[in-house]
Amino acid sequence: MSTRDRRVRTGLPVLLWVPAAVALALVVLPVIGLVARSDLSSLPARISSPGAVAALGLSLRTAALSTVLCLLLGGPLAVVLARSRVPGVRVLRAVVLLPLVLPPVVGGLALLYLLGRGGLLGSHLPGIRIPYTTAAVVIAQVFVAMPFLVVGLEGALRTAGERYEAVATTLGARPWTVFRRVTVPLVLPALGSGLVLSFARALGEFGATITFAGSLEGVTRTLPLQVYLLAETDVDGAVALSLLLVVVAVAVIAVARPRALRGQR
């Protein structure tokens, strides 16, 4: 819409501006507070400390791997949930939402009692230890982040409908060709935004990680865990790393936002 747009628009009720402004302030002011609290002169040194670098590297690596797993596992799950006519699929749709509404700490405990040494599955995995390893970090992140991808993608698939797929079929395309050349391209924007959200959620994951994977430097201590640890002893260090997380988050949004986030209405 250009500034020359002369259409008369339905006015916004003035009453809405007040809570809207408060809401915006609630999002923006804390970040500003963080910046105001930080000691900019010592920032470079704090960010480049060995502990911080290790935590950032671990966070980026695990979040990236989690995002890939979300795509490889959650993508097909979304397709099955959207397209399958197997009875009970509706119940499954609700189950997938569980990690979204569950407190992450509870999720971490649940994972511990599934994959821990005496756990339901863990006791059948002799010689393989999962809790308190980097693998546990990734599993915890996938657990909490995957619903973001599945829910968005499944909604897009259902909105796109099956009509294009039916047309592709009458043109002689086999199921795999239809999937590759019609289904996937149609939901590409939703897939992009789902991946961005999953990555961001994985990057910020704390509760499930500390319960299931602990906080071992270089192995499971991701950036949010490092921030929590430093907040007890070195507040300036915690603030500096928090700013680093904010920067990474803003960068993710900047890279992905223009196309991907808009695709999901």
Partner: protein
């Protein structure tokens, strides 16, 4: 045998479709029928999207569905193309890539597929849209591309499901012309489902009329539409139809009224057919030349081109067959007569304007 040969029986709760359809190779057959007559079900079975309870579908001698032997080819392997009301072009592909989709799915190399697609686009007069995305095409343009796409997949049978229904009034005649030209040029075997007699007249060699899941009329398009044997066909063709028994003086309705006309076949089931434009409307009984005059009340007034179509209903206690008869008047005449729903009128039609033909046993497939 070549062309389409289908016998289909589908039973639903309160509806059974039971038809046999033969379409010779290169022939275009139109299927007309009121809503719920089974047209969509028939197309679904032919396209392989529905499984019939009993039946056999073969195209060019290749069996696609046969409930007796358990043959059930999936849609992708039937070679049955579909052009529906909505073009449904893949929004992420250019027009060219849309048309090349069928050949590519069949394993044709990209360069060759694009060549085929360009040829098909030119055929439907859409060559200049090749590089556009569907969002940048008008409804008529998109439907041309969709036609090219359906043809590029080289279907043995092309199904046209109300292909012009979603287009605006200006685009319809042009696209109808394109479809007509392309079907004739490529000699496609095609089945057209439509509610518009103009579509059938322009495109189809033959017409089938479905009612309640059965074929009630079958014959050359012009003959079926100009000599309708059922009320539905008459309405589709925009004609009035009264059924009864043939009489030397015309047609005798079940309640004994004589509809004067050129002689009908005595004693046999027959229908009298006349155009709404030949029906005059009076508010008092008319006199004069040999006319048929039927008492009625106005049921509805509908704009119909430059004229107003007056729909009649039976008078209380009068013969029921009057209901549904139509008369076309000028807006001035409607105003002069002060017609409105409920006005008692007399419908008058000259005997010379009424044609009587046998209703007989309508060819039932």
């Amino acid at each position: 045998m070549s062309g389409l040969s289908a016998r289909v029986r589908v039973a639903r709760d309160r509806f059974t479709l039971d038809v046999a359809v033969e379409v010779a190779a290169g022939e275009v057959v139109a299927v007309l029928g009121p809503n719920g007559s089974g047209k969509s079900t028939l197309l679904g079975v032919l396209a392989g999207l529905l499984l019939p309870d009993q039946g056999r579908v073969a195209v060019d001698g290749r069996v696609l569905t046969d409930t007796a032997t358990g043959v059930r080819l999936p849609p992708a392997r039937r070679g049955v193309g579909l052009l529906a009301q909505d073009a449904l072009l893949f929004p992420h592909l250019t027009a060219l890539a849309n048309v090349a989709f069928g050949p590519r799915a069949a394993g044709v190399r990209r360069g060759r597929a694009d060549e085929v697609a360009r040829h098909r686009l030119a055929e439907v007069g859409a060559a200049e849209f090749a590089d556009r995305k569907p969002a940048a095409l008008s409804g008529g343009q998109a439907q041309r591309v969709a036609l090219a796409r359906a043809l590029a997949a080289e279907p043995g049978l092309l199904l046209l499901d109300e292909p012009f229904a979603a287009l605006d009034v200006d685009a319809t005649p042009v696209l109808r012309g394109v479809v007509r030209r392309v079907l004739a040029a490529t000699g496609r075997t095609a089945l057209l489902v439509t509610h518009d007699p103009l579509d059938a007249l322009a495109l189809a060699d033959r017409v089938l009329v479905l009612a309640d899941g059965r074929v009630v009329e079958d014959g050359p398009t012009r003959a079926v539409l100009s000599r309708p044997r059922t009320a539905f066909t008459a309405r589709v063709a925009g004609l009035n139809l009264v059924s009864g028994t043939g009489d030397p003086a015309g047609l005798r309705t079940p309640d004994g009224t004589l509809v004067a006309a050129a002689a009908g076949p005595p004693g046999d089931p027959a229908v009298a057919v006349f155009r709404p434009a030949d029906v005059a409307v009076y508010t008092s009984p008319a006199q004069g030349s040999p006319r048929n005059v039927f008492a009625a009340v106005v049921a509805a007034l509908e704009p119909h081109g430059d004229t107003v179509r007056v729909r009649a209903a039976a008078t209380p206690g009068g013969p029921a067959w009057v209901t549904g008869l139509a008369a076309d008047l000028t807006p001035a005449a409607v105003a002069d007569l002060a017609l409105e729903p409920g006005t008692p009128v007399h419908l008058s039609v000259k005997a010379a304007a009424v044609a009587v033909h046998p209703a007989g046993t309508a060819a039932a497939g």
